[in-house]
């Protein structure tokens, strides 16, 4: 083997320019694969971080909610959800994996703003949550892909009537000026209503007065809107929400409908004076790699306790994540294939030329007693050596370029995000990607070298010796 490597290395240097060109093709292949792979890996990490911060890794629903619950979330409330949370949190298997476990309440209804001259209403998709848990979830950053945690005090556990709404919804409800939003068009002075069967100002005010919810509302100078929804029992119900701020949601449909509110308020709206339930129990794990194990354990736990509950991960709840992962994976595969083909032909070409130039040498060493397999090994090792050096050089270059880009302070808005995040290429943090790309290129160069190496091995000795 030592002799094989010695001869291979010296032949590589002997045809330095040719080896350099071939090695450069391999290096370019490694560079392209690693830079794009690093970029894709960072996008995946960013998207995952974004999702996990918002909706956790896993959500427990009442069976059937995932497919049918959107029409009437109130009908799919989890009974005695605190007991379920306690069961999960204290489980010796899944408990230690959990970073945050928190209930949520999904709801749909109509939001109205009837303050001053404004009369606007709009259907909404609401989420009731526990603000302090939301803040803890927002700090999750396992992959270092977050733009950085900035505390958000617009919602708090101490103020059960203050929430956030989507920028689009704020615009429609005429809250641009009260919320100090820039670039926001004035609402037409005529009564604006986009929701079907939108209630009048009189109807909403009357309902609010009846429930005397406005007495509990703490405004702190925030604009207030009225939220109307049907309770689980089918009766109309109204609460008032102090709008702490508007938050862009990335997707316009969601931005035009989104309201986040304290869980207690959402429960008040949906269940009234009845038993307060939750439509979901969100689990944010410490590490994403625990997701399959946590999910399996939850299913076992629910089965053992005869709980009719279902568990969904963030990929199922946010199909966009899976679509982006699939798209970037397909592009990566395409780039890898193109690079693989280029490397394949470059190495075949170089090794074929090497075999042709050294046909007489092949005949000589065969005459000396080297077996066919020895000739095959010799040329294969030479091809692999060029490939290995090229791939290593490409990987080192990729590390360097990634480091330069990561320190350049570039930012971009990833798909589905509402705000810019740092543009980074995650090459150094992905040893599997680097090893995989290196090995893939090594395999391609080995396969490419095998073709001319086999040809050399099959040469009849006398024909090879006659070759000039």
């Amino acid at each position: 083997m030592k002799l094989l490597l010695k001869i291979a290395f010296r032949n590589m240097l002997r045809n330095f320019r040719r080896s350099l060109m071939t090695g450069s093709a391999v290096a370019a292949g490694a560079l392209a694969m690693l830079l794009f792979g690093g970029f894709a890996a960072y996008i995946f990490a960013g998207l995952e971080t974004n999702n996990v911060q918002r909706i956790g890794h896993l959500t427990v629903f009442k069976a059937g909610y995932f497919l049918l619950g959107a029409g009437n979330p109130a009908a799919y409330g989890i009974d005695n959800y605190q007991a379920v949370i306690a069961l999960v949190a204290h489980d010796p298997v899944v408990g230690p994996m959990i970073n945050v476990i928190t209930p949520t309440q999904a709801l749909v209804g109509i939001a109205g703003n009837f303050s001053g001259d404004v009369e606007a209403s709009k259907t909404f998709l609401g989420t009731g949550l526990i603000p302090s848990n939301r803040e803890r979830m927002r700090q999750w950053d396992e992959f270092g892909a977050s733009a950085g945690y900035v505390p958000d005090r617009r919602m708090s556990d101490q103020d059960p009537s203050r929430g956030l709404i989507g920028v689009g919804l704020a615009r429609v409800l005429g809250l641009c000026a009260p919320l100090g939003m820039r670039g926001c068009p004035q609402l037409p002075s005529a009564r604006s209503s986009t929701g079907e069967a939108a209630p009048s100002r009189h109807e909403l005010t009357e309902l609010a007065a009846r429930d005397r919810l406005d007495e509990r509302a703490s405004t702190d100078g925030n604009p207030q809107i009225d939220l109307l929804a049907a309770t689980a029992g089918g009766a109309p119900n109204v609460v008032q929400l102090a709008v702490g701020g508007a938050e862009p949601q990335g997707v316009k449909e969601l931005d035009d409908n989104f309201i986040a509110m304290p869980l207690a308020l959402a429960q008040q709206l949906v269940y009234g004076r009845g038993e307060h339930k939750a439509t979901g129990i969100v689990l944010q794990l410490r590490r994403s790699e625990d997701l399959p194990a946590a999910r399996a354990r939850l299913m076992t736990l629910f089965r053992q306790n005869r709980l009719d509950l279902d568990v969904r991960d963030f990929g199922e709840l946010s199909p966009f994540y899976g679509q982006v992962v699939k798209m970037f994976s397909a592009i990566f595969l395409f780039i890898a294939l193109v690079m693989g083909v280029i490397v394949l032909f470059a190495v075949i070409n170089t090794m074929t030329m090497n075999v042709m130039e050294r046909t007489n040498e092949v005949g000589t060493i065969r005459a000396l007693g080297v077996r066919r397999a020895g000739i095959r090994s010799q040329f294969t090792v030479e091809g692999v050596l060029i490939g290995a050096i090229g791939a290593t050089a490409g990987a080192m270059l990729a590390y360097l370029i990634a480091a330069l880009i990561n320190h350049a302070g570039l930012t971009w808005v990833p798909p589905g995000n509402a705000s810019a995040v740092p543009l980074r290429l995650d090459v150094a943090g992905r040893p599997l990607l680097v090893t995989g790309a290196w090995l893939a290129l090594a395999i391609v160069t080995t396969l490419a070298a095998l073709v001319p190496a086999n040809r050399a091995a099959r040469l009849p000795v006398v024909d090879a010796l006659r070759h000039v």
Partner: protein, 246 residues
């Protein structure tokens, strides 16, 4: 019809038997639809420890005969026995191993491995037969010394003269102490002075190592040193005599 020359064991006690035996060996090359005969049923025996030459005009079949004796080509028909081994019965790998152990080659164009130094070229056959490192080094250095190239041990073939390269080739052929050394026109690419010194060297090491040398040559100088001379014409053995030929 093939002419058979049965060589009786040499008169000296050093030549107890034949190292190479050919029986009715035919070699035909196919060139498209045309069959070109290179050897037409040659039978001969070459004794051990002799300096034998095969002579003949260009295209007479000398090189083909040497290639078959060297087991790098196979006869179309007939039998070949080298060092008591029926070569046709061996697999391709076994023939390679047989060559590695028993046969040394000296080529007209030297055919050294260009990326290896003189030392490494000579050491190469020992690596193939698995000689231990210390023994390998001792034998390589001894052989370099024997061919007068101790000072050029580290030089690569392109840094050596033609004569020096052929000395390296001779050392490479002899270092593994083979039974048979085959040399195809070993002096053809050398000037007459260098050629003479190479012949002198081969003759000396042949006597010292008691190896069987078989040459294919046109070189009258080389012919004059022969113990046995085989003459070939049009693929047939036409003459055999003891001693050299001019």
């Amino acid at each position: 019809m093939a002419k058979t020359v049965a060589l009786v064991a040499a008169a000296t006690v050093e030549t107890p038997g034949a190292v190479v035996r050919l029986r009715e060996v035919v070699k035909t090359y196919s060139s498209g639809a045309l069959d070109v005969p290179a050897l037409r049923g040659i039978s001969l025996e070459i004794p051990l420890h002799r300096f034998s030459v095969v002579i003949g005009a260009s295209g007479s079949g000398k090189t083909t005969l040497l290639n078959i004796i060297g087991c790098i080509d196979s006869p179309s028909s007939g039998t070949l026995e080298v060092c008591g081994e029926d070569i046709a019965a061996l697999s391709d790998d076994a023939v390679s191993d047989f060559r590695a152990r028993n046969i040394g080659f000296i080529f007209q164009t030297f055919s050294l491995v260009p990326v290896l130094s003189a030392y490494e070229n000579i050491e190469y056959p020992l690596l193939l037969v698995g000689v231990p490192p210390a023994e390998r080094r001792r034998r390589t250095l001894a052989m370099l010394d024997a061919v007068g190239l101790a000072a050029q041990a580290r030089q690569r073939p392109n840094e050596l003269s033609g004569g020096q390269r052929q000395r390296v080739a001779i050392a490479r052929a002899l270092v593994k102490e083979p039974q048979v050394v085959l040399a195809d026109e070993p002096t053809a690419n050398l000037d007459s002075t260098t050629g003479a010194s190479i012949i002198e060297l081969m003759r000396r090491v042949q006597i010292e190592s008691r190896t069987t040398f078989i040459f294919a040559t046109h070189d009258p100088q080389l012919m004059s040193h022969a113990d046995e001379t085989f003459a070939i014409r049009d693929g047939e053995l036409v003459d055999h005599r003891r001693g050299g030929a001019r």
